[in-house]
């Protein structure tokens, strides 16, 4: 069972209270973008074995979107953070680096 701490209400919500929102920190390309950019935005998703940044919504709780960093292999949750950001907080990245020395770092 996946437990994520909602940064807005501070509750440890289990996955049945949440809604998965897919990969986080995707750059949106809309009308006027090149075909390549639009294809990347629309279809190309990372599928790492290890550290992954995701969007989640506390659907049955406060209803807010937030971000989570977790490991796709061990299901370890490294942390959650606000949705009002374009990249993960430095402290979280450092924490992950400590736990996963071979991790290549956050790539947008």
């Amino acid at each position: 069972m996946l437990l994520l701490n909602c940064p807005y209400c501070g509750i440890d919500a289990d996955e049945t209270e949440l809604e998965a929102g897919g990969e986080a920190h995707i750059t949106r390309h809309g009308a006027g973008a090149s075909d390549d950019d639009f294809e990347t935005y629309m279809f190309m998703r990372k599928n790492p074995k290890g550290v992954h940044f995701e969007r989640w919504r506390h659907a049955y709780g406060c209803g807010k979107w937030f971000h989570a960093a977790r490991c796709t292999m061990t299901l370890e949750v490294f942390g959650t953070y606000s949705a009002q950001t374009l990249e993960p907080p430095k402290t979280l990245i450092n924490k992950i680096k400590k736990k996963r020395p071979n991790w290549e770092g956050f790539v947008k």
Binding site: Y8, I11, T16, E17, C62
Partner: protein
Amino acid sequence: MSNAVSALNGASFKGSVAIKDVGLQGMITLRGDFKSAVLAKAVKAATGTAVPETGQILHSTKGSAAWMSPDELLLLVDYTNVDAVIAKLDKALSGEHALVVNVSDARALFEIKGVATRDIIAKGSPADMNKDALPVGMIRRSRLGQLPVAFWMDDEKTARMVCFRSVGEHVFTWLKNASKKGNLPKYHT
């Protein structure tokens, strides 16, 4: 004027806990900026309470204010008084980026009473029903079975639960079923 009734029209059931439809309750959804002094003043005038902190529900003789999300409050006031309170809120918040809606007839409110109250809710909700996790004075939005609900403890034996009116009957039946005698999980008793 039609005759206003609550979702289950005051129905009640006695099993391992007593469940009842509380009846008509004035409920107002208020969205806005919690840091605003104007909003704090308007809430004070409406319910007699301060703006609740994260996860809190505050009571006064005039009403209650519950924290629903970082920008949403649920105000509980007297049913007959709702329109007057909303008119006042609208006036007080006229220059603010805020929203006030009467949801009294769009919600159902239940009371669950008995020593096993925490057990009954724990049967259908992933919420931590431990005394430390949900003490009196805190509200929890979660789910019961597959339905979104919000609940809080009025005292150690009494909980109140709000859900959408359209699923009120389902929630009532669910609670009745859960409180059939002899099938308590006894997590909290």
